[in-house]
Amino acid sequence: MEYLPSLLIGLAGSACSWETFGGSVLSLSLRNQGRIQRLMALILYSAGHVFTYIFLGAFAGMAGRTLLEGGVLTSAHAGILFCAGLMMLLVSLEMMGFPTRLHLLHHFPGETTIERIAAHYRERFGELTPFYLGLINGFLPRPLVYAGLAFAFASGNAINGMYTMACFSMGMLPILWLVGTSGFLISPTMRSRLIHAMAIIVLGVGCIMVWRALPLHAEGNPQVTTEMSEMALTPSP
């Protein structure tokens, strides 16, 4: 299972996605005057966010399951992990300020529509708006989310995929809450240091994933090669 890496990249991903989510979270917390209201807004936003990631994880897991049943996933598993690891290495380089072409992954067709719908929700602020915003923002593309989804996909099971992405989204919460409660107190220098620290975590996890995905260590992932194959071959009761 890739729960710990997911948790770590979720943590790093929230720092990386500061621009995407930070603004929304900060505006939510500034919009609500009372302490309880502010807390409720943060909880609702986080719930929406976590729910979307769980949904995406389950979806990726289902897709992985389909391939597993077709016998493709077992052989492709190492490749998927390698790609996820490589993407994490690239993201870490980007976070450290090296030029990469990763900005291409920050966009996908229909993204503008998602942003516009989110803008409509922000305009018509209601009690449940933070939840909807979290739900919608979860669909916005981020490279580390793709890495998390790759883990979920490689798990080859909707429930495992769900858990993987749940860990990923839980990893995002500390920084999301930090931004929501005291984001305006964090100076740009502090933020830059935080991002660099997170970049090191992503780099480390990325290296481990690439190492594990290499053919030499393929047997180091027994649940994939044996357990998953057995699962796929076991007839349903």
Partner: protein, 618 residues
């Protein structure tokens, strides 16, 4: 050619089929269901509740659909885990409980759409999807009560949600295209700093009146036509005059609404405001042009008239074909056919591309008063530049003439020989004409046109002396001096007889009768005048290098439209047959539809950022 109504939301022309809705007592026309949905949020802001309720509906619908699908996926994993039978049974009822509000929240508007369409004697695909989803829901509920399989609650919810989101996505893309023009048209909302005694009041261009004094700081646009009273600054006014380089304006100079101040603050006395400004008149041309559908759009609309009954026939055949095998399977396949064959992307592409192209050209000072001209420009393969009036030569951009001082010398010499001044003037002009050679601008433009496979021909009227034809540079394929109007017409006709698509470029005020035979006519002029717009395309200013750029832009528009039409027709037709054969799941079909619309919209939206003439050259 016909003029059409515009959509109340995206403001693009409606030609094929309009969605008519009565909102707050007013009947409005929408080009699609998506525009109607989005209109409820954006245009009905004053009636806050309806917009909020719509957003809540979509939000709750999305959340519940995600819950339904999650539960369904978890159920699919259950056989490999030792769960109790009762839990599975409860989970199925949970799915039903979650799916029911989705049907009410998202399915109800689709059903209403169907009823309204049937009442008006037409067929709505979205409505058809709503009906089939309701039938599938009913079947699944009966199966659930009887403890049978299969259940299609997740399919129903996901399909309805994806179809609704697809409609919203299309409407959003269309409104983006229209917004491109509206931003250009939005000069009335431009900020203005009115000087009221000693105070400076922050207002908008809409509230200015002739005689007002305004300050225009650097970076701001001039809010009205006026005269500079104080200050000296360069002003960029490409959309107004076609001049790419900023122009220096000093005290006493006239400035036009829409020009952007670059260097320092100007104090301007307002002379004309609102619809009287040059910009407003230009914009009305741009706005009107997109209302007239292009030939391609007309063809697409005609094709859709045939395509919709074809979808209906395919849907009925699918239902009948699969009915004997499995009734519920027949409804599922019918749903797939309706979803994947929905021709939304087909309807979307042409108006969106042409609107973006008109707005893009307007930003470069090119006014397209007929959208159909874009199609013609892309096919042009001979470009005839005409210069008819020798008296206009001083301001001509087609020819370089000798220095005026030399002309004066010549005139004085002639005058010294005892002839009248008037005759001397004519002679001097003729002398200039005799020495006229194509200007460097036109040579550059011709070189660029040749590189695009367009032949270039230069014409000049009878006042020019013949015999200079052999002195033209290689960039020009033909150079005819001193030919009459009839000869020009014959030349144009001969090109057309040889199969050329001829563009006729004349400098204002010359639009000779012989040019009427041309496939497309361009006018170039130093600045805006009402009578400039008699031709379908006007290049404001003297920069002829925008002509090859315009040809590139129109070719790009055509490529985009053709690619989009080919792609959307391909996936609709192939998908329809695959769905009729039972090979496509409805949710997958909805995903394909969403992806198809996204690709078409994204591909078309790139026209907004089409590089300008200077960027293209660099």
């Amino acid at each position: 050619m016909f003029t059409v109504e515009t959509c109340a939301y995206c403001h693009l022309p409606i030609s094929a089929r309009a969605v008519e809705r009565k909102l707050s007592g007013t009947t409005r026309l929408f080009c699609c269901y998506g525009c109607f949905l989005l209109f409820q949020i954006t245009a009905r802001r004053k009636q806050g509740r309806s917009g909020k309720w719509f957003l809540t509906r979509i939000g709750i619908g999305t959340f519940l659909t995600m819950c339904v699908m999650l539960t369904g996926w978890m159920l699919a994993e259950f056989p490999s885990h030792p769960y109790e039978e009762e839990i599975i049974f409860s989970a199925k009822w949970l799915i039903w409980a979650l799916a029911t509000p989705v049907l009410i929240l998202i399915g109800y508007p689709l059903l209403k759409q169907c009823v309204l369409a049937l009442a008006s004697g037409s067929f709505s695909i979205e409505g058809g999807i709503g009906i089939v989803c309701t039938v599938l829901y009913g079947y699944s509920f009966v199966n659930l009560c009887r403890g049978r399989e299969p259940l299609y609650f997740d399919t129903v919810c996901a399909t309805m949600l994806l179809v609704t989101l697809g409609k919203i996505l299309e409407a959003t893309s269309k409104s983006t295209a229209a917004q491109d023009i509206r931003e250009f048209l939005g000069h009335e909302k431009a900020p203005a700093f009115r000087i009221d005694q000693d105070k400076i009041l922050h207002t908008t261009a809409l509230h200015l009146e002739p005689g007002d004094l305004v300050r225009v700081p650097p970076g701001y646009t001039v809010p009205a036509d006026g005269k500079v009273l104080e200050g000296c600054s360069r002003i960029r006014r490409t959309p107004l005059t076609g001049e790419r380089e900023p122009v220096l304006c000093r005290e006493g100079d006239e400035v036009l609404c829409g020009g952007k101040v670059i260097d320092e603050t100007l104090t301007v006395q307002v002379l004309k405001t609102g619809k009287d400004t040059v910009l407003a008149r230009l914009l009305s041309v741009v706005e009107q042009s997109v209302l007239v559908p292009s030939n391609r759009r007309y063809l697409v609309d005609q094709a859709l008239v045939l395509f919709r009954p074809l979808i209906l026939v395919a849907a009925i055949c699918t239902l009948l074909w699969w009915w004997q095998e499995s009734r519920i399977g027949a409804w599922v396949n019918l749903l797939s056919v309706l979803v994947i064959a929905c021709p939304c992307a087909l309807v979307l592409t042409t108006p969106m591309a042409t609107t973006l192209a008109v707005a893009r050209a307007a930003r470069e000072g090119i006014l397209i008063s007929e959208v159909a001209a874009i199609e013609k420009i892309s096919t042009v393969n001979v470009c005839i530049f005409d210069e008819t009036e020798p008296t206009e030569m001083g301001g001509s951009h087609l020819y370089s003439v000798p220095d005026w001082s030399e002309r004066d010398t010549y005139a004085s010499l002639v005058d010294g020989s005892g002839q009248s001044t008037a005759v001397a003037e004519v002679r001097s002009v003729q002398a200039s004409a005799a020495a006229a050679t194509p200007s460097s601008r036109i040579i550059t433009a011709c070189t660029q046109l040749q590189a695009r496979g367009v032949r270039t021909v230069l014409l000049a009227g009878p006042s020019f002396f013949a015999g200079q034809e052999k002195n033209y540079p290689p960039a020009i394929d033909g150079f005819y001096l001193g030919i009459s109007s009839q000869e020009k017409a014959d030349l144009l006709r001969s090109y057309r007889e040889q199969g050329y698509i001829a563009a006729y470029v004349s400098e204002f005020p010359c639009t000779p009768i012989c040019a009427l035979d041309a496939d497309i006519r361009f006018t170039t002029g130093a600045s805006y005048r009402e009578d400039l717009l008699t031709n379908p395309v006007t290049l404001l200013g003297t920069d002829l290098e925008r002509l090859p750029w315009l040809i590139d832009l129109s070719r790009r528009v055509l490529r985009t439209v053709n690619w989009n039409l080919a792609w959307s027709s391909f996936y609709s037709i192939v998908g329809m047959f695959a769905a009729a054969a039972g090979m496509v799941d409805p949710v997958f079909a909805a995903g394909i539809m969403l992806l198809g619309s996204s690709l078409v919209a994204g591909n078309t939206a790139q026209l907004h950022n089409y590089p300008g003439p200077s960027e293209t050259r660099s």
